[in-house]
Amino acid sequence: MSESSPGPLVAIENLVKHFPASTRLFARPSYLKAVDGVTLSLDRGETVALVGESGSGKTTLGRCVLRLTEPTSGTIWFDGTDVLALGSADMRALRRRMQIVFQDPAGSLNPRMAVGTAVREPLEVHRIARGKAARDRVADLFEEVGLDPSLTSRFPHELSGGQKQRVGIARALSIEPEFLVLDEPVSALDVSVQAQVVNLLTDLQRSRNLTYLFIAHDLAVVRHVATRVAVMYLGRIVERARVVPLYDRPLHPYTASLLSAVPVPDPTVKRKRIVLAGEIPSPRNPPPGCPFHTRCPHPLKDARCTTDEPALRELQPDRWVACHYAENPMEKPAP
């Protein structure tokens, strides 16, 4: 493992990703602002969750951090290295230290390749091990993720969804990365199996001191895995905080609405939901001012929200909110 510098393992500064969105040949170019100025850092060994509805830009941000999608502008530091300044050879070397696990384990495994081979492949590509050494390592990895090593010769379709996701995790871990982007890693799994995989990820993080960027739409899962949470809306972070204060007392009206909308598996709890009007606007044509003002239920909402975009401000230590009225947050609906 390389020398590590002090400070965060990953620091994202003012990251922007705009996709061209012109539909007509001679029209003025327009852009879909998928990620629009995001600043976020991850300390070693912590899990930062990125939450938001579809279209919020959370997956694009995750892909940008690994340069699977090339950002439009901004800076990404990985252990003191400016990731976006690296040439392709240096980038390949750095990729050994950062990996991704996808939502759909079936879609990310080659259906014609035995799952053991899929886990061994990165070892050979990165010239870490080959032959018997590589096979032994694959068997160890299988055990570490809770799979019987006899399954190495199986093909993806012969495994259950949970087993496939374990293979995806073993493959990502094979080259001993320090940082994993987990893009909805348990969303496709059944509830009874989801908990097993969540616990596996937590255990691996402790034993290997891994740093996770956990992308998810399920706020209940996030509460159980995250150290810190960043809530995204239309390509921007609207609130960023440690997990306990964020869930106990959300300061942004979007966070409050999102949390109140999550159903609770208890028929005696009749929660008052903040039901948001309308739907998330198109990132092609985001509203002026505060991007959330078109749906905002905050009683203090006024003309200023429709013209001035609120900056992400640090209200308390490690507690950032982009709302003009963050000092007067909406009351949490009584349970």
């Binding site: 509805e53 059944d190 509830v191 199996v193 995989v197 159980h224 609770v264 598996p265 028929p267 039901v275």
Partner: protein, 329 residues
Amino acid sequence: MTALLRVRHLSTSFQTEAGLVRAVDDVSFDLAEGETLGLVGESGSGKTVTALSILRLIPQPPGAFGPESRIEYDGVDLLRLPSRELRKVRGAQIAMIFQEPMSSLNPVLTVGSQISEAIRAHEPVSRKEANDRAVELLDLVGIPEPGRRFRDYPHQMSGGMQQRVMIGMALSCRPKILIADEPTTALDVTIQAQILDLLLELKERFAMSVLFITHDLGVLAGVADRVAVMYGGSIVEQGPVRAVFEQPAHPYTRGLLHAVPRVDRPSDRIEGIPGSVPTATAWPSGCRFHPRCSECMKRCEVDAPPSYSAGTDHTARCWLLDQSEGQRQ
């Protein structure tokens, strides 16, 4: 309350390359007037096949119903009704909405014309009259500017709006029963909240009975009066929603309730159920939950348990509930 729909010993099998596969096995339940029955289960548990069987939307072959199977609606067995008669029930008396509205809507017709067509398929009204009612229905399900959106094509609408259209279409003939198969699973949580509110409101307004199929115990807790838990093609527990959540009688139900993370309370660790969800091509012997059950006994590996009482209107299929002498091991 009287049962509007009575499902008895429903078994649905499919002829596949792997042989005969029994996806639904001896399922019985009642749906009372005005109640919402939540059918909950994980993938492959048989909940969707159960719903499709009620409306006989299972192609035969490869599908087939067991000889004991009966689905009684209004005193008539739908499984033995001639197709012509069945068509008068489908849509008009029992309507269904699905998880993916986009795959149920015709992409090349406007949403308004599709609703209008559904009305005219069941009622002898003029096109003009049907169109007017379609606009009213779009308004009813909360689509803004219904007169204008009538002429929209499905792709011009968001997922939430498409699901509203599906609900409008399902309600076009004022059905007595609405079968909702994972109607909010593909939606974001804020939109899910809107659609659930809409469904509850319309259910009250039209005094419908609802069979609500979901994998989400949170959604279930919010909508259901009674709950039926499916596992391995059978209903393993059935009862009033509070009883099932507060005193779950089947080890699978208990495991499921422990496995679901909660947004309203912190915890360091959630406990999953070991093993994998079984598939119909290889059901385990005996009780189908036995390979994953922490309380498994010898007999569970061999014999499938019958249904035992676990309280008022509350049953579970588990040998642990067997009170007969000398049976507990």
